[in-house]
Symmetry: C2
Subunit: 137 residues, 2 copies
């Protein structure tokens, strides 16, 4: 947990107990959880945790560059503690989300930058949807 504390501090986020737990959860669970999933996972060990805190903290982490917010699913927002350059696949049947690191993904980011003048790109999100290996038989 000392690691997480440093990681937050390095990004100018004061490492409170709640923030460390939530960041730690994101780093150790690559499941792209929703606010609810984070809350339900941490609540047993931390009974005073409030869902509002989970909302606030995840928002803070995103703003501080420590997490990605995924809108791949219209139903609820998902979060990813892995901020490296990668894409996501969402299965339309079982809803699983799979990380995706094609070696030429940086080309995707450049596609845009090469074409537009005045526009400033801060973030690129690539979502694939379809059927995962299991659901595709």
């Amino acid at each position: 947990m000392i690691e997480v504390e440093k990681y937050l501090a390095e990004h100018n986020v004061k490492p409170s107990v709640q923030r460390c737990s939530i960041m730690q959860y994101l780093l150790t669970h690559k499941t792209h959880p929703t606010v609810d999933e984070v809350y339900l996972a941490l609540h047993p060990q931390m009974p005073t945790l409030s869902k509002t805190t989970v909302y606030n903290t995840l928002k803070l982490l995103v703003e501080s560059g420590l997490a990605l917010q995924l809108n791949i699913d219209a139903e609820s927002v998902r979060f990813d503690g892995d901020t490296s350059n990668h894409a996501h696949f969402c299965c339309n049947k079982c809803g699983c989300i799979i990380d995706f690191f094609p070696k030429d993904i940086s080309a995707i980011n450049n596609v845009c930058i090469n074409h537009l003048g005045g526009i400033k790109i801060d973030e690129t999100q690539v979502y694939y949807k379809g059927l995962c290996e299991k659901c595709n038989e």
Copy 2:
């Protein structure tokens, strides 16, 4: 409007008055409107229109391949009557959404397909976020 009627019928969507109006609106307004925006725009000329119908119809259009659903904005879902292969840019300041047709965008779709075996890709969405030309001064 006869055009829209044919367009819907060709995609096995029965062309009711409401469906034609909504499809027509999407085709003539490339603003990636929300459900609310579609409803507010059509309601004056069609006072009996219900917002539920707008929800149902847009869902039907998406399922029939006549519109795209964009989750670019977490706040509310947006729709695009242009189903051709293109990306979207969203300005973090003014919220405008800009269509984006880089000539090598098909490469983005292939990125995934080339890398995965059992997974079946039906849809690819590419979102860019940042500051538009105006907001970037």
